[in-house]
Symmetry: C2
Subunit: 335 residues, 2 copies
């Protein structure tokens, strides 16, 4: 999919499939016949039904699971907003390729394929305290790239990211979308000290003031205050919705990148499961704004899709119960 | 292990190994060198270090994981404390054998072996509103059986149970151990109505009054207000501690069965990870009493070790990161 204009992209964001209600009803009826007290598997039951809705079948599958990681570099790293230098983004991309990062191990444990997309990581985006981070043309290119990174035959897509400085980017997006004080949305990221945190607050305050004309449109905002990996994750999430592929959303940065879709369409992230709540405190508030309840709360704050990857085996467990359990009749158990 | 007397068992409960501090230090040092901001894997880091402590090695393994389910039948079911008839216990044991229950699917998903121990399920324990549920001799037999159910070469043991009426038993144990009002500890279990809930409150109030002489000793209390599966889970947890096998504790009933070990030894459940918080509300309070933070909160209330089984793949993920990730030096990533 190549989006040629913001208005074409906007239209694609506003006309979204709503999932398969017939599959939902059939999956729910099946859950009620399985050998367990009704509701006793809690969210595992909801997860099976959610997979049924978005895959459009009573009996979903999880044979083909892709974890997509988009990596980008950010002009605002010049302001000292991260505990790590910007070249770590490219170094970590090399670490992904060599199999040495956390997400490599987590993907293996979850039986998922890992696909890494370095997005011009040697070129910083523009400094958004001075103007938009991405021009419209490049923004649309990155959204299109993310869209095309989704295999329409996948059973599940997990999104993740790598980008030194990108908790500041996510915070700027949230401040632009929801307002409040800068400090509502910033945190220590990979571990900045008090001075670094003050710089983050200052950077995003100036960024939102500088890009105030972008605030009225979520797509323009995402181009101005986002970055390449944000645009690509946004495109991938949109593709999942149109292709009928359930989506697992990682932490604060990933959620922030997709928030504009919820701003463009009330139900825009219904096909997305928020895997975990990040230790980055703003994530909790962002999830609340989006009406999302996470599956996990493990104090993680790594990114790379690490939280999303952990959700895969819980989904596998939910599906195994849904498809493999005996009914009361089959098992001869009294109801 | 055959425990011949309560005092022999008590001594075994009070002389507990404390885990391997050298392995903990080595595992912690390893975590600090891996390619991630320090602490960014949150509880995954703690889990790897916890496995190291109790397996006694810097590089733990999870090749041999057993899920043990103990099933028992309860005399107090005569009081109408469950939404299901007591014969469902034996029916579910048959369902486990046939592979049709939730735990069969969850064990498969987690790569664990399932071992089911029906404990005289056709014979109800005595009604504990009239006296102890189990005589001392049978109590010690069941504790010994649970102890011997643990393979000392296992890398991890998950405990679970099946027993119609056993949320009432767990509530009676908690009331006996911690006091308060009956309603602090009862809930709807598999789904009793208001009248059923009132009967549960009445039953456990009378049970604690009838067995008041047992309240001063946690083991006598467990015999009087427990049941066969409670005694066996207690024995299995004790074996895990002595054998150096980390333990995963399932929901409310399983936690209640092990609470006497924490009453006998301050640190008695340090080798046990509480997998999830049950939808049965008293579980939260019980966990607080024990100082335990769970890994998951998915609104589950099935038992069968279902929550514990879900924790296995999270532990596998933690271990995969611990053992498989590159260090900063190896990966050439700037610190």
């Amino acid at each position: 999919m190549q989006f040629k204009s913001l208005s074409a992209l906007r239209e694609h964001c506003q006309n979204l499939p709503t999932g398969n209600e017939v599959a939902v009803l059939a999956a729910r009826a099946r859950q009620e016949r399985l050998t367990k007290p009704p509701g006793s598997l809690g969210r595992l039951e909801d997860l099976a039904i959610w997979l049924a809705r978005w895959q459009g079948t009573n009996l979903p599958t999880l044979d083909h699971v892709d974890i997509l990681i988009f990596a980008g570099s950010h002009g605002i790293t010049a302001h000292g907003v991260s505990a790590f230098p910007p070249e770590v983004t490219a170094q970590m991309v090399a670490n992904f390729a060599a199999g040495g990062a956390a997400i490599n191990q987590l993907a293996k444990t979850a039986g998922a394929s890992l696909k890494v997309f370095p997005l011009s990581v040697d070129t910083l985006t523009d400094d958004f305290t001075r103007g938009p981070a991405l021009a419209t043309k490049e923004f649309l290119q990155q959204v299109s790239l993310g869209y095309d990174a989704v295999d329409k035959d996948a059973d599940l897509i997990c999104l993740g990211e790598m980008g030194i400085g990108n908790t500041t980017v996510a915070a700027a997006l949230c401040l632009g979308l929801y307002g409040g004080a800068a400090s509502d949305w910033t945190g220590r990221g990979t571990g900045v000290d008090d001075a670094g945190l003050a710089r983050k607050n200052d950077v995003i305050t100036r960024a939102v003031a500088q890009n105030s004309s972008a605030l009225s449109d979520p797509l323009t905002l995402l181009a101005a205050l986002g970055g390449r990996e944000f645009a690509a994750m946004f495109g991938a999430a949109l593709a999942c919705r149109h292709y009928g592929v359930p989506l697992v959303i990682d932490g604060f940065i990933c959620t922030a990148a997709l928030a504009p879709l919820a701003a463009l369409h009330d139900d825009g992230l219904a096909h997305g499961l928020c895997a975990h709540v990040s230790a980055e405190h703003a994530h909790k508030d962002l999830l609340k704004r989006l009406g999302k309840k996470t599956l996990l709360d493990l104090g993680m704050r790594l990114g790379e899709g690490s939280g999303a990857a952990l959700a895969i085996n819980i989904l596998r467990a939910a599906l195994a119960c849904h498809k493999g359990m005996a009914t009361f009749d089959e098992a001869g158990v009294s109801e």
